[in-house]
């Protein structure tokens, strides 16, 4: 009796676990008419960064619907939720490539996911358009180029340089301390170009301290940084780490400015550390206060009854590159090709992207790096616990 | 502290099966009220199992345990202890890391009239209750002559004292009956003699009904008014020690095993 009950209880626990972890599978939309091109999307629809993934997916749906309303050749859109998890991203990528037989994968903002499925894209010869930040997504090593991976937005190299230039020229701050996650290329690949540009143009890095992803207390590192009297502290991290670092630095008496990059724009950062990050500056891909993005914002808000995240504009850049390629190849011609031919044709066309007008930037992809080498970026500050667009800025 | 007459204690038809092994088989014993009753028998005869059945560590498959007519069968160990059954173990089971005094004070758990919420709110009550516990514990330690050792930790005591401490701990609960499982095991002859005096004096002073399991026949001979012999889970003889020792069944059991006790 007892044993039976024990087994029963254990089973119940296991079943409910499976139930709780298994929800969130998504499939693509239904099959269209005769002529179509199947496109795949990886989105973090659930998990810690779900707000970004949902914005990306919502906007892509708008764009696909618009395309399908205007064109004979339909786009057949398949989306997989990779839950912001690298393993999940790999298996979702495989499913898109092998089962859904997509011609192109719209990747994600998550650099680690991109780094993980990059080699698979090479092996399976599936072109990927991502809006990730890490330059390694397309150039995993100095002399190596991923033939099938492309970035459509400003990589961390541009972000690091832009922030460094803006700090020196516009903010007039010459002494900066740095605190970042040493295990996350989201942070390291921004810190390096920042440091290079900053020290190369007359600035000083007064202290450089690191932490690991699961740390939540940086008081010791911050005490060390603050003791070097910097004008500003660069925090190129995730919003939660930024919030904690800013809170802890203020508690330790730091009065200066915080600087950052695209890990910053999140409402949660303001909720967690609103007044601690007051007066901070960071770079972002764009801003919805920028008149250029009004259109997108209106369409999105009308359809979803909530404001978009910047990821919606970022997937817009990828989609612009994609439609440009399709038009160059010819939609009918492309739809008639075999899957392997479609993939190859798209890859070749992506590599030749020149002066394509995206949502935010005029995009030119460098064939040697498979990403834009320059971009204008939005400079955002925080005022009265709100994000405030300052200007767009392009480093020379 | 002393009782007018010792408690009546008996158990009927106790049976316990472990897997295929009938460890205790239809055992009935009536203890001498206010006296000392012995249980003897070779290794593995089922003696300790009988004690474990009485104190509730095992649930009997059949049978009944009665203390002054009150049925204790199938209750939880702490309930049986609270009903007045104190015992010691064949393998000493002290609270090794705790002081002698704390070992004994633990036995007063039930009689202390306060709980956690008092602990948080009414400190004076705790102090007075704890004072009472300490006095009762010291009284029990005095009974076994261990007052001077009260601050030592259980594990640091010599073996003989550890056995005594177990007895003190059992007595502190003011039990109606006391079960001693091989109290002389591992003691030297001098210590055994002291133990005999101790048990006798406790029995006399408190009028306590005592059941004792022993292999030392000297101890059984000098203490027990009545003796039961067990073999393979069954009681094969009962009566005075002399009667039991001359019982044909007992002789056969011992000769058959080729072992000699006494």
């Amino acid at each position: 009796m007892k044993r039976k009950r024990l087994i029963f209880v254990t089973l119940m626990l296991l079943v409910s676990m499976l139930f709780l972890t298994a929800c969130g599978q998504t499939a693509g939309q239904g099959q269209g008419g005769a002529k179509s091109i199947t496109i795949g999307e990886l989105a973090d629809l659930t998990g810690p960064t779900a707000v970004w993934g949902q914005a990306q997916d919502n906007e892509l749906k708008i764009l696909v619907d618009k395309w399908n309303a205007e064109n004979q050749v339909k786009l057949n859109h398949k989306v997989y939720d990779y839950k912001a998890n690298t393993q999940e991203a790999v298996s979702s990528f495989n499913k898109l490539a092998d089962q859904e037989k997509v011609a192109v994968v719209f990747g994600t903002n998550n650099s680690n996911a991109n780094l993980a499925f990059g080699p698979l894209a090479e092996a399976k010869k599936v072109p990927v358009l991502s809006h990730a930040i890490d330059p390694h997504s397309t150039t995993p090593a100095a002399d190596k180029l991923n033939q099938y991976s492309f970035l459509t937005v400003a990589s961390n190299i541009i972000q690091g340089k832009t922030m460094a230039a803006y700090t020196l020229d516009k903010l007039n701050l010459k002494k900066v301390g740095v605190l970042y996650d040493q295990g996350n290329s989201f942070a390291t690949t921004m810190e390096q170009p920042f440091e290079e540009y900053f020290t190369g143009h007359g600035g000083t890095i007064t202290a450089k301290e690191v932490f690991t992803s699961n740390d939540v207390d940086y008081s010791s590192q911050l005490t060390k940084i603050i003791s070097t009297n910097p004008d500003a502290i660069l925090l190129p991290n995730y919003y939660k780490q930024i919030a904690l670092a800013a809170q802890q630095a203020r508690k330790l008496g730091f009065k200066g400015v915080f600087l950052g990059h695209t890990g910053w724009p999140s409402q949660a950062l303001l909720e967690m550390a609103g007044k601690d990050v007051e007066g901070s500056y960071f770079v972002n891909y764009g801003s919805f206060e920028d008149p250029q993005l009004q259109n997108l914002q209106k369409e999105y808000t009308d359809k979803y009854k909530k404001a978009p995240e910047i990821n919606a504009a970022m997937i817009g850049e990828s989609f612009a590159v994609f439609t440009d390629a399709v038009k160059k190849i010819g939609a009918d011609k492309l739809a008639a090709m075999s899957l392997e031919q479609q993939r190859q044709a798209l890859r070749d066309a992506f590599e030749k992207t020149r002066n394509v007008q995206g949502v935010m930037n005029n995009i030119t992809i460098d064939p040697k790096t498979h990403r834009p080498e320059t971009a204008k970026m939005a400079i955002i500050t925080i005022k009265d616990a709100k994000f405030k667009f300052v200007e767009t800025y392009q480093v020379k | 502290m002393s009782q007018a007459t010792g408690a009546r204690f008996e158990f009927h038809n106790l049976t316990k099966v472990f897997g295929g092994l009938v460890a205790v088989n239809d055992v009935t014993v009536e203890a001498v009220a206010g006296g000392i009753t012995g249980i003897i028998g070779s290794n593995g005869a089922g003696k300790s199992t009988v004690f474990n059945l009485i104190s509730g560590f095992y649930k009997p498959d059949a049978g009944q345990v009665l203390l002054e007519g009150q049925d204790l069968t199938g209750r939880q160990p702490h309930e049986i202890a609270a009903a007045g059954v104190g015992r010691t173990f064949q393998n000493i089971r002290l609270f090794q890391g705790m002081s002698v005094l704390d070992n004994v004070r633990t036995a007063l758990h039930r009689s202390l009239d306060y709980n956690v919420f008092h602990a948080l709110l009414r400190l004076p009550k705790i102090r007075s209750e704890e004072k009472r516990a300490e006095e009762a514990a010291l009284e029990a330690l005095e009974l076994v002559g261990m007052l001077e050792a009260k601050e030592l930790t259980g594990s640091s005591l010599p073996y003989g004292l550890q056995r005594r401490l177990e007895i003190a701990r059992a007595l502190a609960m003011k039990p109606k009956i006391l079960l001693l499982d091989e109290p002389a095991a591992g003691l030297n002859p001098g210590e055994v003699a002291d133990l005999v005096n101790l048990i006798r004096s406790i029995n006399a002073k408190l009028g306590l009904t005592i059941l004792v399991i022993e292999h030392h026949m000297d101890l059984v001979a000098s203490l027990c008014q009545k003796v039961f012999a067990m073999n393979f889970g069954q009681v094969i003889a009962g009566g005075t020690l002399a009667e039991v020792q001359n019982d044909p069944a007992v002789l056969e059991a011992y000769l058959g095993k080729g072992a000699s006790h006494a």
């Binding site: 007892k2 044993r3 009950r5 024990l6 209880v9 254990t10 626990l13 409910s16 676990m17 709780l20 972890t21 998990g47 810690p48 707000v51 301290e209 690191v210 932490f211 207390d217 008081s219 010791s220 590192q221 005490t223 060390k224 939660k240 919030a243 904690l244 508690k251 330790l252 008496g253 949660a268 967690m272 | 939880q76 160990p77 702490h78 202890a81 104190g86 015992r87 173990f89 393998n91 089971r93 002290l94 609270f95 090794q96 890391g97 705790m98 704390d102 070992n103 004070r105 633990t106 036995a107 758990h109 202390l112 709980n115 956690v116 602990a119 948080l120 705790i126 209750e129 704890e130 059992a170």
Partner: protein, 290 residues
Amino acid sequence: MFWQQVFNGLSAGGIYALIAVGFSLIYSIMRYINLAHGSLIMIGAYIGYAVVTATNFPLIPALLAAAAGTAIVSVIVERLAFRPIRVRGVSTLYILVSSMVVSILLQNLVMVIFGPSFRTLPQLVSDVPVVTHPINIARLDFYMMIVVVLSLVSLNFVLYRTKAGRAMRAVSFNPKAAALMGVNTDRVVSLAFALAGALAGIAGIFLGIKYSVYPQLGELILKGFVASVFGGLGSVAGAVVGGLALGVIEVFLIAYGSSSFSPVMIYALLVLILLLRPRGILGRIVEDKV
């Protein structure tokens, strides 16, 4: 900077101690490792969050509510997930696995109820530092250290000055003999889980205030676990010493060594301690029960 770093270390160490004590308490009595303790801390943080957002309670009532709520959850967890295994007397390995399952279950439960996002407790403690010279002491850290000390002193009082504490210690040494002394071991186990839960609730609120509230908050248990091994698994005093030591060592490795190597160093140190002194700083040698 030196004293500032000492304070940083003690303030982190205080939290580690609070985590480690709850963890060690269960280990010392039950001799099994409750992997769900981290999730209980997380539950404590969410209870605190829910109570504070719903009622605007100030710090002290919020602490009491989180402590009480988590204590109840802790007792329920023991009843449902550990007791059925314990009474059957099978290997404690099953309990380890069960506690892991409970931990995942609680995390998922919270994920379903509250969602995966980070939550911030409304400000319970003013920002104005207690002192700014010669070192900066944040009010939250100051209060936290007072509460940590008070909790540990109360725990010590319960364990060493009350019958319930004595019964707990007795059960930790010998549950059978304790039962024989009239101690209801089931009740004592529940009480131990209630105490550990209350400590988890208190730790949870402070962790929540300091580091925000999210379903994986319980992963900080790892530090508490390291601290309790440092101090001696199963020793409550050891958990306190281990927690404070871990906090200070960690901070000093960063302050006077390098922040890139400190995570490695701290685990290297742990391995070293285990090799040289397996029972930790204050641990007692665990004897096999007969």
